[in-house]
Amino acid sequence: MMGVIAGRELRGLLWSPLAWTLLAVVQAWVAWIFLILLDEFGALQGRLVGLEHAPGVTDLVAAPLFRVAAWCLLILTPLLTMRLFSEERRNRTLDLLLSSPVTITSMVLGKYLAVLVFLLGLNVLVALMPLSLAAGATLDFGKLAAGVLGLSLLAMSFTAVGLYFSTLTAQPAVAAVATLGLLLFLSVIDAASIGRQGAGELFRYLSLFRHYDALLLGLFDSADVAYYLLLSVAFLGLAIRRLHDGRLRD
């Protein structure tokens, strides 16, 4: 059942011009940054020769590129997730799902997977750019893999947050704005905590990109991975809860 819902959702996504436009815009934007980074690296290369532990092409091109891609994801994901449940609610098609022998968990996971598959495809396209450098340079594949993992974890959490907000309202735009708001908030939550103890520690842990940055440096810490998994599970759980409650409320 989950597969049926995921398949339908993914097909809907691939038929819509929105998804392809987003894909094209992100590709163009990331490719432009990639070329700029490459250019800068070329200018720097001469000075790096002879330095001990000099940062390589992976650190100077791939890592910043992934950082840019992460921001693209943050802005793009709400646009992909906003329709997931809000449109079902608005068109009253949610009744079809709720009256069919499909559990709410399967509905949520099916839709989640569909968006995730699309975003993972986008991540692969992004990763191909630094990978193409392997033709002429030595890449640190470990760091590259950590970067791709980080980007995928971000995609998972962003999608979960967006899916939750789409269960709250019948207006896709409201869901998108709310998702964007929360994601932006989580990405700057640690800004005021620099140099402070106690609560500052908590805010630093909650910060979206801190764990991602660690991965980009090639530091694989299961605590960082757990953060994104927890965030995803929490918001998917909230979405399931919300849909259950919806049957009680409206």
Partner: protein, 312 residues
């Protein structure tokens, strides 16, 4: 009879805030029955059907569908349900074929079974020519048909239709009624409507619903028997004691309605109005109203609704 029992509902209740929308509703539905929920708009018919379909959770009560409790075994129970909500749940961006295929798969049909099922219901609901058209471009009548096709696609024993003929032209209404009549053979159907004719045309049983309560329940066949007896409503400005009216030839019973009005029950073959006219002139009862009535659904409906209104 109990082998054919498809739906058992006990004490179903639901409130929105302080308002009781459905209040202690109980009934059974067996194979071969078409049960009509009849009531004015806002009586709680749709809410009741939404609960039966598992879309809305009840506050209290039990719903057993084809032997499975809707709350304890929702998947099995829902497998046995076909539901058409007030607005047919169609994805605007899908074609009719895609919509039906998706719905079939949602209800657990395999790919091949879904395809043959879709072909079958399209035939049955008169959709063969429109398979490639987008739902968004269909007329209201066709959308309704797709909604009904979707509800019977997986061949569920229990079918719930919320206002199935609203917004259709008379010819389409006739087609849908015929279709519902055909479904009776191997399904149990519940339909909601605010139209009396709808119930009289299609249903075997009727529940009149008022403010969430079932205020009248009867098989239609029983009503037909009632219809065999006739009624005459008379209004007199100078009414005699009811006993005088009782003495008129052919009157079986006199019902006093107040304000000089009486309902005279008589055998169907008796023609009473001539006697009333003559007596009224002879004894100066000053007749001002003389209305033949039938003990049919319409009168019961109107009486129930008026009675409740005057109480309010």
């Amino acid at each position: 009879m109990s082998d054919d029992l498809l739906v058992r509902v006990e004490g179903l209740s639901r409130r929105y805030g302080e308002q009781r929308v459905v209040d202690d509703l109980s009934f059974n539905l067996a194979k071969g029955q078409i049960l009509g929920f009849l009531g004015p708009n806002g009586a709680g018919k749709s809410t009741a059907l939404r609960m039966l379909a598992g879309v809305l959770a009840p506050d209290a009560g039990r719903i057993v569908i084809d032997g499975h409790d809707l709350l304890d075994e929702p998947r099995r129970a829902k497998q046995a349900i076909g539901y058409l909500p007030e607005r047919p749940p169609l994805y605007q961006e899908l074609t009719v074929d895609e919509q039906l295929q998706y719905s079939a798969r949602l209800h657990g049909l395999g790919r091949a079974a879904a395809r043959s099922g879709v072909a079958r219901v399209k035939e049955r609901c008169g959709l063969t020519g429109v398979g490639k058209r987008l739902n968004a471009n269909l007329s209201k009548g066709y959308q309704q048909r797709v909604g009904i096709a979707q509800a019977i696609l997986h061949d569920p024993p229990a079918i719930f239709l919320d206002e199935p003929t609203v917004g259709l032209d008379p010819l389409q209404v006739q087609e849908i009624r015929t279709l519902i009549g055909e479904l009776k053979a191997d399904h149990g159907v519940i339909l909601s409507t605010h139209l009396l004719v709808e119930v009289q045309a299609t249903c075997t049983d009727v529940h009149i619903i008022k403010a969430g309560r079932s205020v009248y329940a009867s098989p239609l066949a029983l009503l037909e028997q009632h219809r065999a007896s006739g009624c005459l409503r008379v209004g007199l400005r100078a009414p005699p004691p009811p006993a005088a009216l009782r003495q008129l030839a052919g009157v079986e019973r006199v019902e006093e309605l107040g304000q000089g009005r009486f309902r005279l029950h008589h055998a169907p073959e008796v023609i009473l109005h001539r006697a009333v006219l003559e007596q009224s002139r002879a004894r100066n009862w000053d007749l001002w109203e003389l209305v033949p009535e039938r003990a049919d659904l319409e009168r019961i409906f109107v009486e129930l609704m008026l009675a409740e209104r005057s109480v309010e």
